[in-house]
Amino acid sequence: MATAAMKEEEKAVTEERDLEVKKGRKLQVSALKSGTVIDHLTQGTAPRTLQLLDLDRGATVLLGVNLPSGKQGFKDLIKIEGRELTQEEINKVALLSPKATLSIIRDYEVVRKIQPNAPDSVEGLIRCVNPSCVSQDPLVRTHFYTERKDPLKLRCFYCERSFDKDEIDFI
């Protein structure tokens, strides 16, 4: 008897947890048939991330901003319908949100989870912090090396000035 009751209770707990997981998943990805979910974006970076990924036109995108998140307090989230981001695109996300996670969705299922990695170099995208840099000329494409990934530190290929994430100024 005691064993049966315990099993019953265990089953209830498991069911409840499964339901939570399902609910959770529903909250996260239910709207997406296939595409990419970018989660755990640094709060406030979603709009700039869209620009960075050239997604502000064309693709169907759902934005979540200031979502409660246990890990970080608050986070932003982006769902992109019908497009799987390339590794290079994913790495750009890490410039703004080092803690971001990406899920590739096919047929409502997560088929791949990816941790973005800051790129080894960045061309275009960012303006140099140094006002006397030759790359301030709009004819010159900016170019930076990633000198350190976490916390991010970039160095200008031209003027050699280094700067960190807080100083990143997107073009």
């Binding site: 006397s132 840099c133 030759v134 790359s135 004819l139 200008c156 031209y158 003027c159 050699e160 700067f163």
Partner: protein, 305 residues
């Protein structure tokens, strides 16, 4: 013979590791006193978008002593950049007139951009407040010649350490070797924070002082820089600082006789003319060493070394 420098650019000391710096300096020693016409028939394009008489003359002397020729302009007003031609286009045009290019330009990173525009070797003759690598190389060469080595030295930098490009580049290169560093500067003119961060990441430490009198007596190298009036909003503050870094035979008396005094020149009042005959004085040698260093570079990059 392997010619690791043939066809290369000379843009920044960052591009060279300790072994390569030592190699370059050894090649400079070999060039001391030789004036073979190694560069006969070769042409140096000398593009000075801002005036710098010393650097330009030193390059021209080096080229001519090796039998080569020079052409170019001495400031942006006489060049087509006044007409709005981009730096990129200027380089693309000039590369057809010469075999190697030296560029001085006020924009930081301009020499790197020039090097991207052409397959000809490019030498950076100073890009804004970023790099002036031939100055750094001649500074290293002078230190090595005087002290007999580039390591285990007590080296002090005195003056404007904030805007002094020569100082930044030289400190970086001397950090390739184990040395003790002392920084002496007025309160507002210390090393910039981004530069200090770089040093900290390399594990390089220095001792900071406000006065030359605080430096150790067994100092090997005292590298003095000019303090420019325009860096000070308050003229009274400038006068005070200027006088506190005025080196005289008296103020260097307390140092041992191994002291070498360097200065990139031109000087203002920080170097008393009476110091010129002091045995530790090396700033004119330093300027003269610019020719042998530039001769070496021109020959090596043109594959004639």
């Amino acid at each position: 013979m392997i010619q690791p420098f043939a066809g290369r650019d000379f843009i920044s000391m960052r591009d060279f590791d300790r072994g390569q710096v030592e190699d370059l300096l050894a090649r400079c020693r070999q060039f001391e006193g030789t004036s073979k016409p190694l560069l006969n028939g070769r042409v140096l394009g000398s593009l000075f978008f801002e005036p710098s008489t010393r650097t330009r003359l030193s390059f021209e002397s080096a080229m001519k002593r090796l039998g080569g020729q020079t052409l170019g302009f001495t400031d942006a007003a006489t060049s087509s950049t006044e007409k709005g031609e981009s730096l990129w286009d200027t380089i693309r045009v000039v590369e057809g007139y010469c075999d190697i290019i030296v560029i001085r330009h006020p924009a930081e990173g301009s020499a790197r951009l020039a090097a991207e525009a052409t397959t000809r070797p490019v030498i950076n003759g100073g890009d804004g407040s970023n790099q002036h690598p031939t100055q750094t190389l001649l500074d290293l060469y002078t230190i090595e010649k005087r002290a007999g080595r580039l390591h285990d030295l007590k080296i002090a930098f005195v003056g404007d350490l904030k805007y002094g490009r020569t100082v930044h580049s030289l400190i970086k290169s001397l950090c390739l070797f184990p040395n003790e560093f002392y920084m002496v500067y007025p309160p507002s003119l210390g090393l910039p924070s981004y530069f200090l961060e770089d040093l900290q990441e390399q594990g390089i430490q220095s001792t900071d002082f406000e006065n030359v009198e605080d430096l150790p007596e067994d100092l090997d190298i005292l590298y003095l820089t000019r303090i420019q009036r325009e860096r000070f909003p308050d003229p009274i503050e400038y006068e005070r600082v200027r006088n506190s870094y005025q080196l005289t035979p008296d103020s260097v008396k307390r140092f041992s006789d191994k002291l070498t005094i360097l200065h990139p020149l031109p000087r203002t009042t920080e170097l008393d003319p009476d110091l010129d005959s002091h045995p530790g004085t090396a700033y004119f040698d330093q300027a003269h060493n610019g020719v042998v260093v530039r001769k070496t570079l021109l020959a090596l990059l043109l594959g004639a070394g």
